[in-house]
Amino acid sequence: MIISFLVVIALSMVLAMRARAGHSQQSAKDFFVAHGQFGAVLLFFLSVGETYSVLTMLGFPGGVYSGGQDFIIWFFGFIMMAPTLLFFIGPWIWRAGRLYGAATIADFFGRHFESRSLEIFVAISCIILLIPIGTMQFVGIRLVLTHLMPGVVPALLTSLAAAVTLAYVLLAGLRASAFVAVLKDLLMLAAIVVVGVAALFLSQNGGANLPPASEILHATGGGESGDGAALAISTIILQAIGFLVIPQGWAVLFSARSADSIRQTQMVAPLYMVMFPMLVIVAQYARTHGIVPGRPDFVFLAVTEALLPSYLTGVIFATVTLAGLVILSGVCLAIAPLITRNMVPNLSNNRQMIWAKVVTGIYLVASVICAETSTRLMATINGLFHMGITQLFPGLLAALFWARVPAKAVIAGVLIGFFTVGGLMTSWSGASYFNVGILALVANLVGLWVVSHVSPRASSAQSVIRKVACNQNAARG
């Protein structure tokens, strides 16, 4: 099992080295966003790689095992709806990136609104919200590695995982992430289909004896379908919107060769979701065949161990680990430029790259330490991630459509959104029935509108769409 695990990880390293071929002298922009050269195929794998994390392979079947229908609906729903929004808005983010020479979300906000304060504000907000993602990935990776190598100190195992991630980033930046994502995405789909099909056909009557998800729900004390409808629908909307403004997602968009390659990618993305029925079958197989994992999140791996030969189990454990490592490298490549380009401006090309590598190392070490010591705090912050990051969405809308919204209105809106989320989460009992992030977005929009009316931007200001159209007309002569 360990040998097959190591073979897959070694293969990922070979791919990361292969990504470097022809790009040994990288510029900062090449390092962070591959100089916008990725076509639809590579962009698809990178996009899917940044979407499906350890949470998908461990958390989703774990949630089905211990949760129920509403969990399936919102988890599947927001991942399905995100590509529909990215299909329409993504190309405009890409065009704005070209227009402003942006490599990060903070570049975009700072340059469009011509405000250094807003650039720093967005960079700090993104960094704070991205920090726990690394910790949560390491928590998932630790779960896998400690089971694979029970005699080894967990901190050593997560440190080795951090070293592999650092190697990806140092070898070729986003190119390495993209190449490893190809391996991870293909293995992930194959692994889930293999385990799902095995569970289906090894269960008596070809799966006919498996109970519906609703029965699992009743057995585990979850809410009935319908009771959580408002929460499920509001969460789907909020998290799908969140995908439009997550910083690592912008790096993927900026790496695209053309706007149409983004559309092609998002058009195909929902088909990758074929894995979800298999994950539900796996979770239900565990419930009906007496497989009791140590914790719900381990249910997929427990079924894998029960059904598949040892060498295949090793491959699947490696796939779950890769899922975490790809996300980690993506987050590192999102955080590093936020610091080296936006927080500390005017660094030369070489110094940006050097400091990006240093920041990556520090981030990984901090995440390993947090995974060992502050999991609960990080889980809480991680839970706030989508509600918090989504507060940048009104600012994005303003940049695209409303020319006279000033930077201070965007900052005011985001702050109002943050405080509304915090206030409602702690004091409103309805938070368990409706996603407070949506209410915070409304408050954010109202704040943005009021400040824009009190102190609008100069009438000569243009929206992104208008600027792109003007450039297009100028190019046509």
């Binding site: 591959a34 916008g36 050269q37 990725f38 076509g39 639809a40 195929v41 590579l42 229908q69 399936i72 609906i73 599947f76 729903g77 399905m80 709806m81 590509p83 529909t84 929004l85 299909f87 329409f88 190309p91 065009r95 070209r98 190119r175 289906l200 269960s203 070809g206 004896n209 498996l210 109970p211 519906p212 998800a213 609703s214 379908s225 319908g226 409808a229 789907i236 060769r257 053309s258 706007a259 149409d260 559309r263 092609q264 998002q266 058009m267 195909v268 929902p270 088909l271 029925p277 539900v280 079958i281 239900q284 197989y285 459509f401 769409i465 792109v468 159209a469 450039n471 297009q472 190019a475």
Partner: protein, 83 residues
């Protein structure tokens, strides 16, 4: 202003229709009937994904050719098709 992103009918087909279908499948289909261990409403939710892909495919065919002159990167060649 939305018309600048796409003709009005395309976001309806590409976003509103898949979302409505998702909600209808999740909350209107029966949850007590089962096939392969998965209740009908969850199957309905799962089947929304390929339908969404088809809707986006239609939208892309309608959008093809827009702003093509600005969309090509100055940096060649593409790496997307080397794998």
């Amino acid at each position: 202003m939305l018309r600048h992103i796409a003709p009005f009918r395309l976001p309806v087909i590409g976003v509103a229709f898949p979302f409505s279908l998702l909600c209808a499948s999740a909350f209107a289909l029966p949850s007590d009937q089962v096939f392969w261990g998965i209740s009908f409403n969850i199957w309905g939710v799962f089947l929304c994904a390929p339908v969404t892909s088809l809707c986006l495919r239609y939208c892309r065919s309608e959008l093809e050719g827009t702003s093509a002159s600005l969309e090509k990167s100055k940096h060649a060649p593409s790496e997307g098709n080397i794998i």
